[in-house]
Symmetry: D2
Subunit: 366 residues, 4 copies
């Protein structure tokens, strides 16, 4: 009666690595899955770092070389959290070895690279998933179900943004985020709101943008007096059109003073509206009908067991899921898909589509 094991190889041990490790440890106690995930091997920047972090993150073994991990026949799933520029080689290696691959967003730093990756997937025939974890929120799933059921009628407009303040301070130094090849606010966080827009409303057919850099230079390291120019956007606004006919705007802003996580949107339909912000991630705001009645208005729905899979975490409403719980849901969906269940995505193909929209907007800005 023991479940078969699913052996995980994790590449990277930073913030998201810890988040992945935590999810693989927790998921078995919270979800009824076809496999028992086993944290097998951690690949880090060195043997030493690997050994240290494997102990902390609860992995049985460690390596200083991700190639070893990808080639290891005892590994079933490669989870890739490494710097964005390494996504392509790691993923291709894993795919070539027939592993299921679970990659953090963005899939890659350039459209061409992402296209090479998706081509490799078609040949591998494995399960792929990209870590757009904000889509795992039960309230986002509820929003999609309400839209699909026609509860807000035909979609008229979408007003979305992902605004944070983590680059508002000009003293924040250069990093992979400001790398001209694949960096910038649009690629980094704009991809979240684009993926959510597609998840909720489908294909984006047109996209035109305007971007700004704000701080023209940044230090090469924290506290350094040496500055280099910043060549990527800090804020981008875009006009978008959806295949279904809706129009709207998308904003990506990493210099949004005061905003910590305003991944938010309002969707207007002919018979109602929905609104959401990640700053209140356990709430969905819903207006049934166009309004104007004696008791009509926006209703604040709080997450609870009637919004799967919230009940896997808590049997009572209002107790709140957190960011790390979204990763647990993502991992549960991955394992279900590997067991032959439904893969809700985003798979690598969908991640490529998101990147195409990013690319279209970026091109229109320049």
């Amino acid at each position: 009666m023991m479940k078969p094991e699913l052996r995980i190889g994790l590449v990277g041990s930073g913030f998201m690595g810890r988040c992945h490790a935590n999810a693989f440890h927790s998921v078995g106690g919270l979800f009824d899955l076809p496999f028992e995930p086993v944290c097998e091997t951690l690949a880090d920047i060195s043997e030493e770092a690997g050994a240290l972090n494997a102990a902390t993150l609860g992995f049985a073994r460690a390596t200083g070389d991700w190639r070893t991990l990808c080639a290891d026949p005892s590994i079933d799933v490669v989870a890739g959290i490494a710097p964005n520029v390494l996504h392509e080689p790691i993923v291709i290696a894993a795919l070539s070895a027939g592993k299921h691959v679970y990659c953090e967003k963005p899939l890659s730093t350039t459209l061409k690279s992402a296209q090479r990756i998706t081509k490799a997937v078609q040949e591998a025939g494995v399960v792929t998933m990209v870590g757009f974890n904000f889509l795992r929120n039960p309230m986002i799933r509820l929003a999609r179900e309400l839209i699909e059921a026609g509860e807000i009628g035909e979609i008229v407009s979408f007003r979305g943004r992902h605004a944070e303040n983590y680059m508002a301070d000009p003293h924040v130094p250069h990093s992979f985020r400001t790398d001209p090849d694949g960096g910038g606010a649009l690629a980094d966080i704009g991809s979240h709101i684009i993926s959510m827009a597609r998840y909720l409303l489908g294909q984006i057919t047109q996209a035109t943008g305007q971007c700004r850099t704000i701080h023209k230079t940044r230090p090469i390291a924290l506290g350094s007096t040496e500055h280099l120019p910043v060549l990527v956007d800090a804020v981008t606004f875009a006009l978008v059109e959806f295949k279904g006919g809706a129009v709207g705007t998308i904003e990506a802003n990493w210099a949004a003073s005061g905003r910590t996580m305003d991944l938010s949107w309002e969707i207007t339909g002919t018979k109602g509206a929905l609104a959401f912000s990640q700053e209140g991630m356990n709430e969905l705001v819903f207006c049934k009908g166009s309004g104007g009645g004696r008791t009509s208005g926006f209703t604040k729905i709080e997450a609870g067991p009637s919004h799967p899979p919230y009940g896997n975490f808590c049997p009572a409403p209002g107790h709140h899921l957190g960011f790390n719980d979204l990763k647990v849901i993502e991992v549960a969906q991955l394992i279900d898909a590997i067991g032959g269940g439904f893969n809700p995505g985003p798979d690598f193909q969908e991640a490529l589509e998101v990147q195409k929209v990013v690319s279209k907007i970026a091109t229109s800005c320049s």
Copy 2:
């Protein structure tokens, strides 16, 4: 020691006419003004309607012809609330007779017409004002003062909209609002958010839009089975750029299910941010600094006597101004300007500038 009288002639007796009459009656008891406004003559669609409505609205005399009113030497100020298509002839007649002119927005239905009007103003040398009453809000004035004082640093972005649901229902019939000449959501309510954007951040140098009609036909009258096509926009999104360098978006949406008065914006600066919605018109939300400190975040400022001219209405904070109070402030500013005081506008020239932005966006959509 009696104040000199300022005799008002009002053209039109509908909703906004009543609102104007109320403001002229109230303003003397609430503000210390250079003149005593006197509600002298009401011009209506007929002698009979005029007599009836003059009694209700507290005007001493009535006429069925606005030309008579404009030519009457006993009138000092012509306040024009009539249908938009009549704005030009009424305003030109009033200007020709040397009256001060107070006109509801929009100044006119076409850019050419608005340009003819502003040309006439230059020759008349009188005080003009357009009823963009949402600008009169003490919290909007506070926002501008904070921006001008550099409290939020350099302006990065503007995210504005005016969203209401009054045309969401397809049974709402055709009216002047859907008239191809000067109608549509962008002209009707987009002008409010554009005027506010200019009031707060200055000149809009670039503007490109996308628009949708939503309901393709509407009945010719309420309940009628005869339908005519709708040729104007119900929702328009635009990318905008300001002279100062900021970028952003503007939305005009009169089919915004659930929204009653979301004339709202968020302004991001390098050192802070401000946010406002007319749905909470007595509040301004202010983040000092870019955020991230132990006790930093958005502060909800509630209107009070430290936000002039709130104190003219109430000596204690939190008691709330209402929509009609904004009109009283507008009328107080008009009378002060006629007495030689500062004219905060929008005067007719500023209204023309707003209309130019409307026109630029509309042209880009087609």
Copy 3:
């Protein structure tokens, strides 16, 4: 076809006097009333003050003696705004002269005084009204209608407060508010939440409280170094029971840091709940059902024409009424009642009942 006149005599010209004057001037243009109110005479502290303020507030005549006003046969209604300690003699004089009387809250400073007044009313047979203007809010009326219609089932509990910060600063000097005879937070603002509790849920049968003074002394005047002890409450909490069986708490707090106008409550019923705060006076929050459904939760209803008499001020929802508009509604109700229409109160008898609850709580604290 002219309406008969209703001649108003106003006693007092401070903040509330201005508010009353404004309401009498505005009401005719906004409501269809049986009389035309005429601002006839202002009684002030002296002839000179009266003459000056009558000009500003738009009254035809002035007097320095309220006795003259009360005795004047040309006056139909006496509106009393004078200091609380004068309410009894003014009201008794007006009643004796057969005037309708409209008195600001509180009806008087002591329970005995209020009882003498209500006794005098019974003999006079006139219309009386007390200025509990927060009850005039269309959203409060909607709340009562929903409760009466059983929309939230049987009432379980009431959680109310009136919290402001106007006495939080220890430098605010003594005034009538801190007079041991009739002063204190419970009497001054607790009376508002008690009147609202009664308006919504009926008779309060039990009430027990706890009170605190906070600042033990205050200067005798602003900036004075001479201090006198404060003998009244700054904050009072009470447990209350309603005749219908509900239990709850009432708080009066005039040292509530950060609160400008939190006259607020939540009413829980077996089939739903309602919540309100004067800080968002144009909103009522309503949960239909006890919650837990997939799309259930609290709905924010925004004031609009479907909430009478909002439509008298504005034909579109979301435009907001303000504090002074509530006074206009109050005056409209007064004039309707004088014309033989329904008197929604609070009349003097109801004001006495409110004062009895205040007294019961105050007694239990000492």
Copy 4:
């Protein structure tokens, strides 16, 4: 360099058992602890249930008898989640065997029982902790730090409640929650707001209440037609006084229509105020100063790395902790305390103090 193990024995496998298991599995990857927690043995209602649930929850061994677990020398910590009536025997057995004990709230069902337990602790000299997990929230810790630093001055008042709707439906059957011995809203959830009040403001010296049962009978099981009377409170309101001088109210309400987790309070001080609701558990609302300034008001602080131990879960603000994360923090504090670090409690003595307040209010109601 391997950390010493800390072997956990868990009694109970329901909702809270799963929550505990998850916390013990996750905590090592998120916190730097003196021990490596090992999920050793699960005690369940039978051998079979134990075996099944141990597999799911990741425990190495299982037993059908908690006595075996408590006596097992290989167990270091007994975590007790079993039904409330079993808390005393389990805890006493664990203490007698010299185990550290981690017990879910309430410590026991009666005051006498809780007193017997705390007496046993004094003799055992072990670490104890009670699962008042809402206290673990970084925003609650921030609130306490701000209060202790005098940021809101002297405390004037406390307005607290714990309101949920899980018993609003009369069809919810009898359970341990409605057991006359230790049940009722005040004991079940009132204990949360009481523990938080004590955590933030210290000792409660006076407490008087009013309670109501609401639904007088409930079915003996879901869907049963057999009903038994309900003898416990569904809603209780109490007046409270704190040793420091503050007054206030506490509400416990499990029939609060529309409320899912309104564990909330507002604390007013002479120089500021703080407000919190578990429905927005990642936010603390803070007014510095008593208000009234041009830009003063309540600031919404969002949880982030500057609020320990948020940063253990996520390096960026605004990403949200969830309910289960609070349990992880609790477990980290437990393990730290066992390692000789600071025990922030609530230990069993503190849980007894909470129960005394519950008892005092309950007694005053009857």
